[in-house]
């Protein structure tokens, strides 16, 4: 049976009328609109400083948001999904998102930290211990958004694969479908390795038994012995099991292959529905993938992504968007729906979309820090007035905020000694 958001334990103060919403904010550069960095209160010269990210995190936490995400990639930002561009009029350059998250972890206490990481070119062993460490330094608030890269320039940055140029319009050709199946199959293997490595130490593996001189019970450390068609990983991790047991795994999904990944492997899907009917269809597809993978009883959250520009005077946000578009020289388009309006109008939309089975939203501020402050100081109080959002943090971990239990260790029942191979 699929986990229904209304019935999930993620609603500690659920009323009969409606269950509270979960809210995430997606941080990226100076905001998601390409002209945002030119706004008077933007801080484009500080994008590569810790202070900028710490201030944004503090604002998001002030608004009691469940989590923040940080965009990333292994190449310069580009208007093109698969290739670089030579633009100089938009924000270019960024810092490693896992390290930004780690830098702000000791400065925050409640908010979940979910950096983006590319799985196509990186080592699952390294990323597993990085996210486990983020969980240690944040005391249980780590997550990870796994990202599949289809960019040809990223292939050349690593030099270890044959470049395979793709075009959006070719994704549904036989070659495009094969490439997608390969990339998302690799991502699924990758997440499996992350999860096995996080479990490769049982919680009570460290015994510090002075009498026998043993620091660990070696029977509670496990080789994961993942063998796949693309890579194999032996384990165990060098890092003990992190505080949450399994840090949160998220993915952004726009079509069938990533919907499968989301349902089979993740705890949280970010999706981009056009409207409530679209959202309903997407949720159904993810739930079907979840059931097919035998995960029907688990909670998999589905959050809709929205780009938001907020002003308190009706009509003002649309005027602001027109002004930003004029500065950019083009109408802003996004994979996600672009919302302009007031906090109350946005609250109305979230309520309407939530009825399609979404358990929360990831809001992409058009302008930073401006629209983040409109979220935390306008939208959040509006949702609180309607009884739809928390008035205090109710859990110490990110999984706790999302109503996810601390999972049992998949190896805990396996008490056989680890096999010898040397």
């Amino acid at each position: 049976m699929p986990a229904s958001p209304a019935a999930s334990p993620s609603s500690p103060t659920a009323s009969a009328a409606a269950s509270p919403l979960h809210l995430a904010v997606a941080l990226d550069g100076a905001g998601w609109h390409p002209s945002a960095w030119r706004e008077p209160d933007a801080r484009p010269e500080e994008l590569f400083t810790a202070r900028y990210w710490a201030d944004l995190a503090a604002e998001a936490e002030h608004g009691l948001l469940d989590l923040l995400t940080i965009e990333d990639g292994l190449s310069l930002q580009s208007e093109h999904p698969f290739e670089p561009d030579a633009r100089t009029d938009r924000v270019r350059g960024r810092l490693d998102a896992v390290l930004v998250a780690a830098r702000i972890a000791p400065l925050t206490r409640h908010i979940g930290l979910v950096p983006t990481a590319v799985v196509t070119h990186t080592e699952p062993f390294h990323l597993s211990k990085a996210v486990a460490t983020l969980d240690f330094v944040s005391q249980g608030r780590a997550g990870l958004r796994v990202k599949v890269s289809g960019r040809v320039d990223e292939v050349a940055h690593f030099g270890r694969r044959a470049p395979r140029p793709l075009r959006l319009e070719e994704l549904d050709s036989p070659a495009g479908l094969a490439a997608l199946a390969e990339s998302f199959g690799e991502a699924e293997d990758y997440v499996e390795v992350l999860r096995r490595l996080w479990d490769s130490w049982e919680d009570d593996a460290e015994i510090r038994d002075a009498a026998t001189g043993r620091f660990i019970d070696r029977n509670k450390l496990h080789h994961i012995d993942f063998v796949g068609s693309r890579f194999s990983v032996r384990g165990p991790s060098i890092t003990p099991r992190p505080p949450q047991g399994q840090p949160l795994v998220a993915a952004l999904a726009h079509r069938g292959e990533p919907f499968q990944l989301a349902g089979r492997s993740t705890d949280l899907a970010f999706v981009t529905p056009r409207d409530a009917d679209d959202a309903r269809a997407i949720v159904a597809e993810i739930r079907a993938a979840q059931r097919a993978a035998g995960r029907g009883a688990e909670t998999v959250h589905v959050f809709a992504d929205l780009v938001v520009l907020l002003e308190e005077r009706p009509g003002a946000a649309a005027e602001q968007l027109a002004r930003l578009d004029a500065a950019a020289g083009a109408e802003y388009t996004s994979d996600a729906r672009v919302f302009t309006g007031t906090s109350a109008e946005l609250a109305d939309l979230l309520v309407e979309l939530a009825q399609a089975g979404l358990s929360g939203f990831r809001l992409r501020p058009g302008r930073l820090p401006y629209d983040l402050e409109r979220i935390t100081r306008g939208l959040v109080p509006e949702l609180q007035r309607r009884g739809l959002f928390r008035t205090a943090y109710e859990a110490a971990t990110l999984r706790g905020l999302l109503g996810l239990p601390r999972p049992a260790n998949r190896y805990a029942a396996d008490t056989a000694p680890t096999a010898a191979t040397a």
């Binding site: 960095w37 030119r38 933007a42 010269e45 590569f48 810790a50 292994l74 190449s75 310069l76 670089p84 633009r87 100089t88 009029d89 270019r92 350059g93 810092l95 490693d96 390290l99 930004v100 780690a102 830098r103 972890a105 000791p106 400065l107 080592e123 062993f125 390294h126 211990k129 990085a130 486990a132 460490t133 240690f136 330094v137 005391q139 320039d153 990223e154 940055h157 690593f158 030099g159 270890r160 460290e206 510090r208 002075a210 001189g213 620091f215 660990i216 070696r218 450390l221 693309r230 194999s232 990983v233 032996r234 165990p236 060098i238 890092t239 003990p240 680890t418 096999a419 010898a420 040397a422």
Partner: protein, 233 residues
């Protein structure tokens, strides 16, 4: 078999000796001190009831703050990418369990202000683009306090934890380490430092459409493109 015995060390840190004069007029060499986090292996007296955690962040923060109070140059973290085993059994007598080097150093940057943050990173089981962006990011996030202790390994034992493991011949590991460093410097230098204009009036964020362009070809690497982290402090 140990995963650490075959590492070798070569420091690329920020520590440079500067002489100063003592009262006698003879040059007095100032000493540089680094604090090594004694987390794992047999250097830690873990059986003492007062022994703290080798993995909780509070242990790292405590050591870093203490070293900074004592005006140490830098904190140093070692690395081992596979737990030691003997005859296929995980060695259980010494302390094990360490964090990811970059991640814990980035967090330590938040609780210190002046202390150098030196990490050991392997040149065999990593790629230059990724490591260079991690070091450059750490340098930005710590306002210029990152340092790299590069090590190499070649053994298939450690390689079993990596998708690209086990490809290096023992005699090639220093060539790879040298080329790895050359490639990394090429990446660091791909931004001169004056490209980010962020000029609201003219609308120019970058002053150079080719910022970050790089190419490096050698026996171990063939990489090209644009590096995505502007020049670090």
């Amino acid at each position: 078999m140990s995963s650490e015995s075959n590492e070798s060390h070569k420091s690329h840190g920020s520590s440079n000796g500067n002489g100063s004069s003592g009262s006698s007029g003879k040059p007095l060499k100032r000493i540089h001190l680094a604090a090594h986090f004694p987390g794992v292996n047999n250097t830690t007296v873990w059986s003492d009831p007062q022994a703290g955690s080798q993995i909780e962040f509070s242990s790292f923060a405590h050591l870093a703050r203490t070293a900074e109070r004592a005006k140490f140059d830098f904190l140093f973290l070692a690395e081992g990418l596979r737990l030691r085993e003997q005859h296929g059994l995980i060695h259980d007598l010494d302390v094990v369990g360490r964090p990811d080097t970059f991640t814990v150093l980035a967090a330590l940057a938040a609780v210190t202000e002046r202390l150098g943050l030196a990490g050991t990173i392997n040149s065999t089981f990593n790629e230059p683009y990724e490591v260079a962006r991690q070091f450059a990011s750490l340098d930005h996030l710590s306002a210029g306090r990152s340092a790299w202790n590069v090590v190499t390994s070649w053994d298939a034992f450690t390689g079993e934890n990596f998708r690209r493991g086990g490809f290096l011949r023992e005699e090639d590991r220093y060539a790879r380490a040298r080329q790895f460093l050359e490639a990394s410097w090429r990446l660091f230098d791909s931004w001169r430092g004056d490209e980010v204009l962020a000029d609201r009036v003219s609308g120019a964020f970058l002053g150079d459409p080719r910022a970050g362009e790089f190419a490096y070809r050698s026996s171990e690497f063939d990489i090209a493109g644009r590096f995505d982290v502007p020049r670090s402090p």
